[in-house]
Structure formats: structure tokens, C-alpha cells
């Protein structure tokens, strides 16, 4: 049926259009999610190696490529750039297509962009292991990889915008604002940071300020916008009701844009006092973001908790929202100088970062992927049991990482603040907590293997269900609904 017949006032979108939209999104989403799952497995293997070094510091000591200071940033970059950003782009693309009731514009170009992105991540992770890291946290990818990433993002971003522009349903809703802002955000911060840090480096500590600005804008603004867009969209989908309040969502949107952007400079920074002071105030103001999200989600779900049509993706999304509240609240606490002196330079910040990047963003993306992929592949997920297993593994894994690190970090912080306690003692006291997280890393790894298995399962069944291979241009191959082998 002609998609243009779905006017903005239409309340009954027809099934075949929905199927066409899903089919058009298949090639890019398949590349983005499948490679994302592979990068997750790589990230957790690298993370596990890094974590073993705390049990046995002489492990692999002869190998420069596998020293802690290279494996650890390689693991975090594989997670951030290998999984989180492409997953966010994929989920965002699908939401934009669905809400706009339009097919993805030239999906093969987006799939091509996704492949360039993966090439960039591959080159970058190898670069880090080879010792080419830039030395700035969250921005370790060397210059040559950054160019590929930037080109890939631009391709994906432009065609996502074209898809948004081509929408039939003209009204923009909360998830679309969030995604649109995020789309513009990343290239801006990424190019600014790389140009001023690696291409024409600025002098002295201004480098650190820009690196902190970038990290906060990536981890709080970009992940916040994309993650919350997915949360809002899927919560209303799963609960089968509209978001409680567009105005609260607007508040969330503006507070992220105006406050979270300023939240990066730590209290301890060797920079003139006005910068950490502004950061502290801005970070405390993100309490409004947290409150509006809590109210909106709570009111939308209401008494219908547990009534979701398909509970498995909903569980991931629900955990993601909780982790969002906890991690952003931890960030607010961290910003207060009275508390920051006990948490700065400790594992507490690592726990906060894990809860934000993994507990909130990655978990929300898992839920979204499990919701989207069966629809996009036009196929029931082969095994909801394995999805549930992934959920429990991820949940236990992230708790086993975040809780010991947060508790151990606070103990470490108190001891660091008592100069009578020798430094070796401080280090030893956090070591047991640190070792507990190795178990969490193992659980996450198994979870990631399950995600990969689930996606492979879908792909194999999809391939078996039709003669044509998986990588097809969906625009040329739209199936009538319900045709199954």
C-alpha cells in the first residue's frame, strides 16, 4: 500500500506499511547490532584480561600489547565505540522510521556507513593495543581511526536525518527530539575534541578540560539523550500507552542540553576554580533531569507494572531506567566538594561510569535490540529463555561490578584521606573488592555470548526461511506478511 496514504491524523497504520518499514531497516540494523555484539564479546575478553592482572600482576608481562594500560582502554573503547554508539544509532534509526511511519531512506548506504564505522573501531582498537592511544580518557582512538569514525558517523547521520525528513507522521514526539539533538551532538564534540587535542593540540591543561568536556558530553549528553529516547519509546510501546507528559520530557530534554553539558570538570582539577565550581552547580541541576525522568516513567507505567505484552525486553529497559537514576544520582553526589574528596581518584567513579554506560545505556540497548530484531527479521525470537538468561547474567554481572567498586571505592577514599595509612594499605584494601568484580566480568562475557548466539540464531533462521542471503537490499525484497518456510 502507498505509505503516503497514512496521513498524520491516521490512527490505524496498516500492517503492511509497518512490515515495509521493518524490512527497510533490516540491512543497517543487522550490521550495527551484529557487529556490536561481536565488539561486546571482544570488550569483555579484553576486560577480563585487564581484570586478571589484579590477581596476578606478572600475567602476560612480556607482551607489550597486553599490558594493563593498553588492554583496559581497548576494552572500554570496544564497549563505547564498538557497541554503545552503533547500537544507539541503530535503535535511533528504527525509532525514527517507526515514529515517522516511513521507510528508511537508502538503507544500504547506512549499512555501508556502519561497515566503515566498524573498520574504524577495528583500526582504533588495534591502534590502542599497539600503543597509539591519544592518552585522553574516552577518546583514546588514534587520529587515523577517528577520521574513519567521523566519516562513518556522518554517513549514518545524514541518512538518518533524511529518513526523519521523509516522515509521513509530521508531529515530532519526545524520542524524536532526543534523537535529533543527539545526532548533531556527536560529530560536533568528537571533531572539536580531536582537532584540538590531536591535530592542532592546544597548550597545557586546556587539553584536559576539553577531554573532560568531551567525556561528559558523550557519557551524559549523548548516551543520556539516546538512552532516554529508547526508554520513553519502548516503555510506551510495551505498556501500550502514550508517555505520561510531553512537557516533563521537554524538561528532561532542556536540562540535559543546558546542564549535563557542563558537568565534566572534576572538583580536583588543576584548573582555575571557576570551572569546577560551574561544573558542580550544573551537575547538581541535573537532579531535575533525574526527577523528571522518574516521574514520567513512573506515571506512564503506573499500576501496569508487569503487564507488558512481552516482558523480556521490558525488563532490560526497566533496569536501564533504574541504573540511570542511580548512576546520575552518584554523579550528582560526586560533584559536591565535601563528598568528592572521598570519591575522587577512587573506584567509586569507575562504578558510576559502569552503571551509566553499561547499566543504563547498554541494558536499554539490549532491551531495544530484543524488541526490534524479531520484528525487523520478521521472525519470532528463537529462544526467549536465552534472552531471559542474558538478562539475569547482565543484571548480576553489572551489580557484581558496580556494588563492590562503589563500596571499595568509598573505603579506598576514606583511607586515601588519612595520610597515616600507608599507600600500600590503601591499595590492598580495595584489592579484594576489585577481585570480586572479575566474577562480574565473567558473567557479562557469558551474557554477551548469549546475545551473539541469539542474534546468530535469528540470522540463521532468517536465512533458512528464504533462499536469498541475509545481506539483501530490503528495498528490493519486500515480502508479503506472514509468508514463512
Amino acid at each position: 500500500m502507498n505509505p503516503s496514504s497514512c496521513s498524520s491524523s491516521s490512527t490505524v497504520a496498516n500492517d503492511s506499511l509497518i512490515r515495509e518499514i521493518d524490512a527497510s531497516a533490516r540491512p543497517p540494523l543487522f550490521v550495527l547490532f551484529f557487529s556490536g555484539a561481536i565488539w561486546l564479546v571482544i570488550s569483555s575478553i579484553l576486560g577480563l584480561i585487564a581484570s586478571i592482572k589484579f590477581h596476578s600482576p606478572d600475567f602476560l608481562a612480556n607482551c607489550a600489547w597486553l599490558t594493563y594500560g593498553r588492554v583496559y582502554p581497548a576494552a572500554t573503547n570496544a564497549l563505547l565505540y564498538g557497541f554503545a554508539i552503533p547500537a544507539g544509532l541503530g535503535v535511533g534509526l528504527w525509532i525514527i522510521a517507526r515514529l515517522g511511519q516511513t521507510r528508511v531512506v537508502q538503507p544500504w548506504i547506512i549499512a555501508f556507513g556502519a561497515k566503515i564505522w566498524n573498520l574504524g573501531v577495528l583500526v582504533g582498537v588495534f591502534g590502542i593495543l599497539n600503543g597509539d592511544s591519544t592518552g585522553f580518557e574516552s577518546l583514546e582512538m588514534p587520529k587515523y581511526a577517528a577520521i574513519l569514525l567521523f566519516i562513518a558517523y556522518t554517513i549514518i547521520g545524514i541518512w538518518t536525518l533524511l529518513t526523519l525528513h521523509a516522515r509521513q507522521e509530521k508531529t515530532l514526539t519526545a524520542p524524536q527530539w532526543f534523537l535529533l539533538a543527539a545526532l548533531f551532538w556527536f560529530p560536533w564534540i568528537f571533531s572539536t575534541a580531536h582537532l584540538l587535542l590531536t591535530v592542532w593540540p592546544v597548550r597545557g591543561v586546556t587539553q584536559s578540560i576539553i577531554a573532560w568536556w568531551f567525556a561528559a558530553n558523550l557519557k551524559f549528553v549523548w548516551f543520556g539523550l539516546v538512552g532516554l529516547a529508547a526508554s520513553f519509546y519502548f516503555i510506551s510501546q510495551l505498556m501500550n500507552r502514550a508517555l505520561h507528559s510531553q512537557y516533563l520530557a521537554l524538561f528532561t530534554f532542556w536540562t540535559i542540553l543546558l546542564f549535563a553539558t557542563w558537568s565534566g570538570i572534576p572538583h580536583s582539577a588543576p584548573v582555575p576554580a571557576w570551572m569546577p565550581a560551574i561544573s558542580t552547580v550544573a551537575t547538581v541541576l541535573t537532579l531535575i533531569t533525574i526527577l523528571t525522568v522518574m516521574m514520567n516513567v513512573y506515571r506512564t507505567v503506573g499500576r501496569g507494572c508487569g503487564q507488558a505484552a512481552n516482558p523480556a525486553p521490558g525488563k532490560f529497559i526497566a533496569f536501564g531506567v533504574m541504573a540511570f537514576v542511580v548512576s546520575w544520582a552518584m554523579h550528582v553526589l560526586n560533584a559536591l566538594p565535601e563528598l568528592a574528596i572521598f570519591t575522587q581518584f577512587t573506584w567509586f567513579n569507575v562504578a558510576q561510569n559502569h552503571l551509566n554506560v553499561y547499566g543504563f545505556f547498554a541494558m536499554t540497548m539490549f532491551g531495544a535490540i530484543y524488541y526490534i530484531m524479531p520484528r525487523v527479521m520478521d521472525m519470532e525470537c528463537p529462544c526467549w529463555g536465552r534472552v531471559k538468561a542474558h538478562y539475569w547474567l547482565a543484571l548480576l554481572g553489572i551489580i557484581l561490578i558496580a556494588v563492590p567498586l562503589a563500596v571499595g571505592g568509598i573505603i579506598q577514599g576514606f583511607k586515601l584521606n588519612h595520610p597515616q595509612v600507608a599507600f600500600v594499605e590503601v591499595m590492598k584494601s580495595s584489592l579484594n573488592f576489585l577481585r570480586a568484580t572479575s566474577l562480574g566480568e565473567v558473567l557479562l562475557l557469558v551474557g554477551h555470548l548469549l546475545l551473539l548466539a541469539n542474534l546468530i540464531g535469528l540470522a540463521v533462521r532468517y536465512a533458512r526461511s528464504r533462499v536469498t542471503p541475509v545481506f539483501v537490499d530490503a528495498m528490493t525484497e519486500i515480502k508479503p506478511a506472514g509468508v514463512k518456510s
Binding site: 607489550a64 548533531f184 586546556t206 587539553q207 543546558l258 591499595m427
Partner: protein, 295 residues
Amino acid sequence: MNYGALIFLAAFIGISASWFGFVLTPQIQIGRETQATNTVNTAELYPIARPGQANEGAEVYRANGCVYCHSQQIGQSGTEVNVVLSEIGTNPVAVVEALINAKVGVTNANATGLSAGLPKTILRNVSIGNAKKASKAVRDAGAESRVDVVPVGVDIERGWGKRHSVAQDYIYDHPVMLGSQRIGPDLANVGVRLPDAKWQLLHLYAPRTVVPESIMPSYKFLFEQRKINGQPSPDALPLEGDYAPPAGYEVVPRAEAKALVAYLLSLHAGAPLYEAPLSVASAPAATAATNSPAK
């Protein structure tokens, strides 16, 4: 409602505000700092550019991610102002009287023995105004004193530095590796704390032979184990036990290890600057004061 353009504008405002605040303004304000003679009371240039080998060492430090375990920034929680009496002059009684009259905390009760064992800290942790008042009173009574400005804080008590770090300390660094974690100790001042290059090399190769409970990874790949040809190399590490190479072999640092150590030894953090005031002549007194337990 179609506010695509409006959302773009919102994103634009949000990002350009923070870009203006945390990219442009810092660059205007501290992005052009140069080597300067703003060290207090001397005309010395600060900071001194690193020699070539130390710069290569900074690259080794970056490539191997030392920054993930070691910070390079000193914090400070406050500043103590002390008055130190250095010469009592010809009339000790008048000095004591002048101090009591200056009403800066010296009373009849605690004035006894004030002149014994000079130089001596007669006022500890007073306001700068009182310190100057006391100093002037002492001077007018014919004695000599000085006012010590002593930064205090946990990092300083641990001996990691003398004062809080400031932008001027990092103008020659690229990348600036401040670090966000202290899995290992802070290194801002390691060149002063542990100035022995031999110790540093041994610690890089076999950390647990010098610090038994260390969890620092061994950086064996920065060293070379080779057969001894004739005379053992003077660079060979004095290794024992598990770490010792087989007989007839020796372990010598590669160029990277030497460069890394040169970089570590180039790390200093103690020059008194306008924005980080600190009395230098009083270094021994300052150490004594900061070794006391935290207040």
C-alpha cells in the same frame, strides 16, 4: 507541531554554550601560558622544558597507559600561615612584650621560652593579617622573624607534592595526563620523591622486588635479556631470586625504559607560583609542619 528546526536550535544553543565555556574560554584564559618568571621571589624561569629523552619517555608513558593507574595532580585543602622567629635581637623582653601587645595570640602564659632554640615557630596557623602584625611587632622590637606560607592537604602530607597543581605546571605536556585514578601513587612529584634512576628501572622490571605488595604490572617488554659478552653491562639490573636471569645472562633496559625513567625523574611539583603561594626558604620547617597529623 513540527519543531525540527527548533530542536536543532536547542541542540545548537546547548552545545555552543558549553563549548564557549569549556573550550573557548579556557583557551583564551590559560591556553597561552608560557614559561615565565612568575615564580615567587626568584627570577627563575618556570617550568623548564623537558630534555629530549624525557619527552620520548612521556610517549612511552602515554603508549602504555600509565595514566590509568597514576594521577599527576596534587590537591590542597588549605594553607597554614606560621610566624618563625629567627633572631631575638638584643632585647628579648621587649620582643615578648611587643608580641603580647600585638594581640595575635601570644599571652603571658605561653610566652615563656619563646626565645629558646631559634629559629622557632612562635605562631602556628594564624590569619595572614595577624602573622604580618606579629612580624612587624617583632621587627620593631629589634628582632627578626619571617612569615611562612605552608600549603596543607592529604597529598602534601603523603609527600606527593608541596602545593596544589596549577595550569602553569603542564604547559609543556602533550598529552596532559592528569589521570582520574589512584590505583598507584600520584606521580606529579616522583622525580623529587624517588630520584634514583637505578631504583626506577628495577621497579619497572620487577616491581615486587622493591615494593613487596605492589600490584603494578611488570614492564619486562621494556627490557632485554641478553647473553653477557665479556664484561657485564653497567646498565644491568641487580636482580635476585625469581626475577634473576639465567647464569651468563643479564637484563638491560631498552631505550624506552631509559626514556621512561628520564621522564619520571623530570616530574617535579613544588615551584612557588603566584597562584600557588608557598614559602621556599622555609622548606625544612614546612616539612616538619606537614608531617604532623591532619587537623
